[in-house]
């Protein structure tokens, strides 16, 4: 059995608009704060795993600001799961015995980026001569003509498909809007969230429609932000101070999956199967069950996505996500608080930072350091991200303090 790994220090910057900070500034801020939180330095790190998707920067540029020690740098990209992939890369290096401490950083500058999607794809530009091109021989763009390739509409269909499969008879728009109301309410307690405004159901439903049933506040907010984590081996941790050992958070499970082939998975992305597989493996690795989770940070890139992941992460009975939500279970005072950070819909979604920021949120509670939004007595938590394409990262974390 490979060695246990712990989060020794972790940090996220304030998510939002940082016009005066560039990608290196944001990455340095999170990395240096994570090192300070861990009470170690760059000199202690044996690996740097770095994720920055849209900005196309490299970990070496961060090193040149905070410490060039010659350690290996792994630059990773895995869509919206980039941060979790960076973290898992550092964890794997420790499990492989290559080093006993590592740093994972995820950073993104997205404020004002607008709609994100796969682009037109396939065809040549609309023009004077129809010319087939690409894998389907398209003579014109397919986005908008053969479905949508943009994220809000893609994830809208993910949620609607769940309702169809489970014979939902209510009003989809209102159901999904209520999920957003929950997360915006939760965000009011999170000073690092990009948006911290409570919104009524009427406000959420009355806002600008992006892709039915997702209005603007039901979509993750593009913003700037960074998050970083220092991971350490169990053996190394034993040599550190009592305070470091007390605050360390155990990584009980670290799982990364891609989407296994399913009928229709190349028609509408299947974000369910790989999440189910990852969750199952994570529960087995950690030896915990869904009932043991004191809080869950899941990838609510859109309100429609949050619903399906209640089911995919086994937080409810199969097919029971609507009942689970309507029972009040995922509210912060419910039986399984989900996205007490405010989720991506209000906290924001600086892509590569997200998969470490959700770990930060869980660690914060497990250490009893979450202030006004502390889930009392939290001992076990889960963090989940999905990157379309697809990649899924699931981590289960447990507090060290018995």
């Amino acid at each position: 059995m490979s060695e246990d790994v712990f989060i020794l220090g972790i940090n996220m910057t304030k998510f939002g608009k940082h016009p005066d900070l560039d990608i290196q500034d944001l990455g340095a801020q999170a990395a240096m704060a994570a090192l300070a939180d861990a009470d170690v330095s760059m000199g202690d790190m044996g690996i740097l795993a770095y994720g920055n998707l849209v900005g196309q920067t490299f970990g070496q540029q961060l090193q040149k600001q905070i410490g060039q020690t010659g350690i290996p740098v792994y630059n990773v990209q895995n869509a919206c799961a980039t941060g979790a992939t960076a973290l898992r890369t550092a964890i794997m290096a420790i499990k492989a015995g290559e080093c006993d401490m590592g740093l994972a950083v995820g950073v993104e500058k997205l404020a004002g980026a607008g709609l994100l999607g796969a682009g037109g794809g396939g065809g040549s530009k609309d023009g004077h001569h129809w010319e087939p091109s690409g894998r389907v021989g398209a003579v014109a763009t397919t986005d908008g003509r053969i479905g949508t390739q943009q994220m809000p509409g893609t994830f809208a269909q993910v949620g609607m498909e769940y309702l169809y499969k489970n014979d939902y008879e209510g009003t989809p728009f209102e159901l999904f809007a209520k999920i957003s109301v929950k997360n915006h309410k939760h965000s009011t307690l999170n000073p690092l969230a990009a948006y911290t405004k409570e919104m009524s159901l009427e406000q959420v439903m009355g806002d600008m429609m992006i892709a039915y049933p997702n209005t603007r506040p039901m979509c993750s907010a593009n913003c700037d932000g960074a998050a970083a984590a220092v991971v350490v081996s169990a053996a190394k941790l034993k040599t550190l101070s009592a305070e470091q050992q007390r605050r360390a958070v155990k990584v009980s499970a670290s799982v990364l999956t891609s989407d296994p082939w399913q009928e229709a998975c190349q028609v509408l992305p299947d974000v369910n199967t790989l999440t189910r597989v990852a969750a199952k493996e994570a529960y087995e690795q950690a030896g915990v069950s869904p009932e043991d989770l004191d809080l869950v940070e899941l990838h609510d890139c859109f309100a429609t996505a949050e619903l399906v992941h209640y089911d995919n992460l086994q937080l409810c009975e199969p097919g029971g996500a609507v009942d689970f939500f309507e029972s009040g279970a995922p509210w912060r005072d419910g039986s399984t608080p989900v996205n007490v950070s405010g989720g991506l819909q209000s906290k924001g979604h600086p892509i590569s930072a997200t998969g470490i920021a959700n770990i930060w949120e869980v660690c914060h509670h497990l250490r009893g350091e979450a202030g006004d939004r502390q889930i009392e007595g939290a001992k076990v938590g889960m963090a989940h991200v999905i990157g379309l394409g697809s990649a899924c990262g699931v981590h289960i974390l447990e507090s060290s303090a018995a």
Binding site: H128, D143, G147
Partner: protein
Amino acid sequence: MSTKTQIPHVDYLRLGDRPHLVANECTSCGARYFDRRNACASCFGTDFREVEVATEGVLTSFTIVAFAAPGVPVPFVAGVIDCDGTSVRGNVINTEPDDEHVKLGMKVRLATTSLGTDDDGIEAIGFGFEPAEGASA
């Protein structure tokens, strides 16, 4: 001399008297694909045959896109149609793009639509799915 006057939007749309979609079906496991294949993503086989896809189906998911990439007219309905066991991506057309007219589980059928004519006088023909009351799906 015959002159080509129409071209399909994508090569898996077959025009003529009875427009329909075709798929590349893996001869070993039956997985179906609409794009050019290197191998089967399900069983890794490399032998495919072309099969016709049913032109009637059931709308199993949809969204009404109100905000899209530049140049894409909105609103439009994007959805997934279960065509007798083969899932197809397509727009729902020839109906109002709102949740009064578009419902999960509604029966739809393939319909073609013009994308315009190029400088050579060739008309590109696209496809969508329109409501099919009473269709046997």
